[in-house]
Point group: none
Chain length 224, copies 4
Amino acid sequence: MSEEKEQWLEDLIRLSEETAETKTEKQARILEAAIEIFSEKGFAATSTSEIARKAGVAEGTIFKHYKTKKDLLLSIAGPIAVKLVAPFLLRDFIKMIDMPYDRADEFFRALAKDRLKFARENTKIIKILIHEVPFQPELLEQIKSLVTDYVVKRIEKIILHFQEKGQLVEAPPWRIMRTGASVVIGMIITHVFIVPDFPFDEEKEVEMTLDLLMHGIASRSGEV
Amino acid sequence: MSEEKEQWLEDLIRLSEETAETKTEKQARILEAAIEIFSEKGFAATSTSEIARKAGVAEGTIFKHYKTKKDLLLSIAGPIAVKLVAPFLLRDFIKMIDMPYDRADEFFRALAKDRLKFARENTKIIKILIHEVPFQPELLEQIKSLVTDYVVKRIEKIILHFQEKGQLVEAPPWRIMRTGASVVIGMIITHVFIVPDFPFDEEKEVEMTLDLLMHGIASRSGEV
Amino acid sequence: MSEEKEQWLEDLIRLSEETAETKTEKQARILEAAIEIFSEKGFAATSTSEIARKAGVAEGTIFKHYKTKKDLLLSIAGPIAVKLVAPFLLRDFIKMIDMPYDRADEFFRALAKDRLKFARENTKIIKILIHEVPFQPELLEQIKSLVTDYVVKRIEKIILHFQEKGQLVEAPPWRIMRTGASVVIGMIITHVFIVPDFPFDEEKEVEMTLDLLMHGIASRSGEV
Amino acid sequence: MSEEKEQWLEDLIRLSEETAETKTEKQARILEAAIEIFSEKGFAATSTSEIARKAGVAEGTIFKHYKTKKDLLLSIAGPIAVKLVAPFLLRDFIKMIDMPYDRADEFFRALAKDRLKFARENTKIIKILIHEVPFQPELLEQIKSLVTDYVVKRIEKIILHFQEKGQLVEAPPWRIMRTGASVVIGMIITHVFIVPDFPFDEEKEVEMTLDLLMHGIASRSGEV
DNA sequence: AATGAATGAGGATTCATTCAT
DNA sequence: TATGAATGAATCCTCATTCAT
C-alpha cells in the first residue's frame, strides 16, 4: 500500500506551494482583507471596493491578481478545503492501518486535538467555507469528492480495523463515523465559534468529550 | 411553575397568528418565493425583482408589505427560529419534569424524532437560518437569548433529573447536552441536507443513533 | 403576383407601429439622445451616462427600456435598416413591372429623388448604420438578407424589363444595378454627408446626375 | 509647372521612410496587431491590452512607441490616407497633362486598376480609415485638405483637358469627377469588401465597368 | 528599449426603494 | 391595495496610462 504512487500528495504539495510562495506582498494583503471581510459579512455582501480599501490597494489591482470576485473567493476557499481534510490524506495517516494506534480512543483523540487546533488557527476561513460552499457548486463538488474519496474511505478502514480488534461496537462504520464526527465537530464549533472567549482546559475537554463518545452518556453502573 | 405567566408563550401565539392569519394571498406568495430563492442563492445574492417575478407580483408590492428587503428576511427567519426551539417552550415539555418519561433514552428519542420531522418539513427555511444568522445581529441575539434562556435551562433540569435517577452519567450537564445535540443534529443534517434522497428507515435510524449516543461507540463486551 | 401573401409587408407594418406607438415620452428622449451621440462619436465611444444626461433621465431608466446598450443600438438601427429598403418592398413598387414607367430614366429618377429625400431626413441614423453595421453581425445579416432577397431580385426584374423594351444596354443586370446604385449613392453622400450646407437645385442635380448615368460621361458627338 | 517646389512630395518621402525604416521589429508587430484588431472591432472597442497580447509585447511597450492609443491609430491611418491619394500627387501623374493619355477612357481605366489593386492590398487599413475618419477631426481635416488641394484640383485639370479635346461631355467637371469616382469606388467596394471571395476577371470587369461609365447604361442604338 | 505591476477613473449594469397613478 | 416606471447609488470590472525596475 505504501508503494502506490499517491497523486493526491503531489496535489497537496503543489497547492501549498502555490498558496505560500507565489504571493506578492499586495496579493497577500488583498487575501487577508478579503478573508477578514468575507468572514464578517459574507461573500455576496462584500464589495470589491471595500476589500481594496482595507488592503490598501487600488480596486483594479484586485482584478489584476484575481480575474473575478468569485475567483478571489475560490482562491481562499479552495486551498483551505484541502487543508481541512489534509491529515486524512497524509502518508502517516495511512500507516496507522499497518502499524496503528493500539487503542481506538487514542486515535480519535489525536485526530480531535489536531483538527481543533487547525480550526482555531483558521477560524475566519472556515467560517467562509461553511457559508459559501452551499452556494458555490464548484467548491461543493471539490469537497464532496475529497471527502468521499479520501476521508470516508480511510476512516472506514480504520473503523473496521478497530472493530476486528474488538475495540469498537458492531455498528455500520458510517454510523460510527458520523457519530464521532458529530461529537468532535460539535466540540470544535462550541469552542471556536460559539464561545471562543470562554477559557477551557483543552486537554481535559477533549478527554472528557471523547469519553462520552466512547462510552456514551448513559450511566455505566450495571444496567442501562 | 406552570402557574407563572409565560411571556414567551404569548410570543409564540402572536407569531403563529401573524404567520397564518393576517397574510393576504399575495403576501403568502411573496414569502414563498423569497424562501425559495433565499435558500437557493443566499439573502445578499437575491434581488427583490427576482422575488417579485417568482411571486407574480409587482416589485412595489413587496415593499408595501415589508419595509425593506431585510425586513422580509427577518419575517421569515424570526418565526422559524422560534418554531425551531418551540418544543422546548411548550407547556407539555415542562410537564415532563413533574411527570416525566421513565427513561432518559425515551425522552431523547422522542425529541430527536420530533426535530427530525420538523427539519424535514422546513428544509429551506432552516438553510436560510443557518446561513443568515451569523450576519444578522438582531437574529443572532434573538436566538441566543431564546436558546440560553429557555432551551439550555430546561434541558439542564431534565438532565439533572435523569442523573438523579441514576440514568445518566455523572458529567457536567452542558457537556452531555452538547454531545446529545451534536449527535442528533449530525443525524438530522445528514438525512435532511447531505443525502436527502437516500431512503432510510427513520424509526431504526433514530433507534440506532441514540443507542450510540447512550452507550458509546466502544465495544461493550467486558472491558473497553 | 399581387395575390401572394406578402409577409414582409406585415413585418414592415408591425415595425413601424412598434417604432411609433409604444414609445413613452422618456423612451423617445432616450432614443433621440442616443441617435445624436452615437452619430457624433460612434457607438463604442458613447457612454450610457452621457446618453442619460442628454436625455434628461436617470441612467437606470435607459436599462429599464433597453436591456443592453447594444439593444439600444439595435432598436435604432434595425427599423431604419428596414425603412432604408422599404420602397423596394412596397406593393406599388412591384406593380411597376406590370404597369411600368414608360421610360427607364423616369423610374431611376423617381427612385433617386425618393432616397435622397429619405437620406436627408435620417442623416444621423444612416451615419450610425454605416458605421456600426460592420461590427454588429446581427445587423449585417439582417441587411444582407433584406437586400439580396428583396432589393436585388426586384431591381433585377425591372432592369430585365427595360432591357427587353430596348431601353437599357445589354450588360449583366447586376453590373447595371451596381453602376446605378454607385452613382445615386455617390450623389446622396455628397449632398447629405460631405457638403450638406452647400445649397443646390435638387431637381436639376438629380436630372443631370441621371443624365450622366444614362448616357455616360463620354462626349456624345459622333464617335467616342 | 514641374519647376515648382512641391512640398507634398517631401511629405510623401518622409512618410514612406518613417513607415518603412525606423520601425523596430516590436513596433512592426504592434502595428500589425493593431491594424488587425482595429479593423475587426473598431478603434474604440479595441483595448491596448488586446493589442499587446496579439503583438506579443508588454502593455507598456506600446506606450513607449506611441504616446496614446489614438496616436497609434493616427500612425496607421495617416500614412495610408496619404498613400490612398498618392498617385494623384506623383510627378508622373502631373505629366499626363503635358504628355497625356490620348484617350480619356485609357486614363480612367489605368487609374481604376491601380486603385483597385491598392485597395486589395490594404483592405484592413482602408476599413479602419472609413470607420474612424468621421470621428477623428484631425484625420478628417488632413484628408479633406489632401483631397481638395491635390486630388480634386488635378483631376479637374485633366477633365478640362479631355473636354477641350472633345472626349468628355460638357458637364461641370466636379459632377463628372463625382460620377467617375462613384462608379469606380462602387466597383472597388463590391469586390474588396462585399464579395471578396467571388472570383472575377479583373481586366474584363474594369473594362466593362468603365464602358458603362463612359457611355451610360441606356441603350445606344439610335435614339436615347 | 522593454517590462508588467499598479493605478483610479470610468464603463455598463443591477439594485433596493419611492411615488404618482 | 397594488402597480411599475423611475431613480441614482453602488456593483463588478475594464481601461489607458504610468513608472520603478
